[in-house]
Symmetry: C2
Subunit: 263 residues, 2 copies
DNA sequence: CGGATTGTTCCATATAATGAAACCTTATTC
DNA sequence: GAATAAGGTTTCATTATATGGAACAATCCG
């Protein structure tokens, strides 16, 4: 049996455990001490200790002798550069995002799906352009973001069911869809409509329109969104940007397929 | 025995081997087939196969069923975001880079040292961008870049010796320093001078001025450079930007120390 | 100075990785 | 279209590696 979904809870082998530890350290968001990590992992002391040593010796973590803390290492940044270039739409979409940004003057997100979550791989700010890893690499929920819903809507039935199952359905705002049923209905509508809207479902005052990026055969490659605030614009206003959005999404799909991204 | 330098040739444990495979895939720069990877790794078929399976199942690699190729996975991008935020100077230096960029209008690089190589962690483009390699996450040689020399010059003696040992001394241009002796002399001069210059040593027509970013106790945290082309400017012209450069470098050091980065 | 708390090392045992070879499966050739 | 080759996957006895309970240091704390 071939396991192709990324692993959610339990790890296979030593490598899996080591990567879990990586996640643990990364999730802390700040340098973490041994004891802290020990408390959150279910590994015995000695095991975690040696895992940390190995990762540190490999440059995946950095150990701060002074404060006795572990943090993600720079080797990751190197590796991620390759990942970003090769398995994300970002480098291909770059000039197209620039053009769209120029045209609409609002914040733009390019996202892909990773384990039921939204992974942002590129972004343009309303005002000035930003740089790679500052925003790229961030993750977000699938069920209450424009890009998340746009991608889920066009997933094959079983993948969609799996993705829906992974959602937390936490009510970020009063508008958040908080049940699988509500989400499913919404996804049906999105599939009929071709684009999705975020109606302040994730953050109060933030709205967006998003479109999936689909391969010629209909496979979901990613999603593209234009985001704004209720102070600057309205849902109707966003609707007007729809042609620019879907056109760019189509262009990205085309560009991606001509270079790689098969089926 | 504790191996603390990141791995150059041989790995410790299974995790090390797995990470070697990651490097291998990342280094290819494009989706790679099993056989290709097999040829370059010294693992037996079955071993490499299972290593790849594990990494894929962990989301560190993505496997393209259609083309039967492996590429770095998106989980890396997620992890790298954490690494970039926590163990790089970039997020701290961000506003300062913006200001410097505004002021000098040339390309700016922020780099750190990783295994004797230069790792670029942030960048600002010149107002009129010139075509040249570099993005965050990219790596470069230490011995023939402004930032590389600036950092090496201020390393403690033994670390410096180690770093010099790791250099390839490939002659990218006629100006490249191609011996350890020449480099050492250059580093002495840089230490006396406080800043380094790249005199078209890495790429014909590209010059830069760079300054180290030093902690209060003199530890090398990174380096900052202003890059231009011989068409746009001269070494003398760059010399004039020196105050702005060193001042920004100092500010970054200060900002970094007040938040973390110990000794 | 006792008594915690936190971090590191040992070592017999359990577990997981190994790799040679067999076995599929898909291209290629005649 | 059968034969052959190349690429990819699985098996299984063997071996190397990771494991974790417990002992040991080191550091902190009142």
């Amino acid at each position: 049996m071939n396991r192709q979904t990324t692993n959610g809870g339990h790890a296979d082998g030593t490598v899996g455990k080591a990567l879990d530890v990586m996640d643990l350290v990364a999730a802390k968001g700040r340098p973490a001490r041994f004891a802290e990590l020990l408390a959150e992992s279910d590994h015995p002391k000695a095991t975690l200790y040696r895992l940390l040593q190995t990762l540190t010796s490999q440059g995946m973590l950095t150990y701060d002798e002074g404060r006795q803390t572990y943090a993600p290492g720079l080797r990751l940044v190197r590796l991620a550069h390759a990942a970003w270039q090769q398995s994300s739409l970002a480098p291909i979409a770059r000039p197209l995002l620039d053009a769209l940004s120029e045209q609409v003057g609002e914040t733009i997100h390019l996202a892909q799906m990773d384990q039921g979550q939204v992974l942002y791989v590129d972004k343009r700010n309303a005002r000035k352009p930003i740089d790679m890893f500052s925003e790229a690499g961030k993750i977000g929920p699938g069920y209450c973001t424009g890009v998340g819903k746009a991608m889920m809507a066009f997933l094959p039935e079983d993948d969609r069911a799996k993705a829906i199952n992974m959602q937390a359905f936490f009510a970020h705002t009063p508008q958040t869809l908080t049940t699988a049923e509500a989400l499913e209905r919404e996804l049906d509508a999105i599939r009929a409509e071709g684009v999705s809207f975020d109606r302040e479902e994730h953050e109060q005052g933030i709205i967006c329109i998003a479109a999936p990026i689909l391969s010629a055969t209909g496979r979901v490659m990613g999603a593209l969104s234009i985001t704004t605030s209720t102070q600057r614009n309205t849902l109707d206003g966003l609707e007007k940007l729809r042609p620019a959005l879907t056109e760019t999404a189509a262009k990205i799909a085309e560009a991606a397929e001509s270079w790689q991204f098969p089926d």
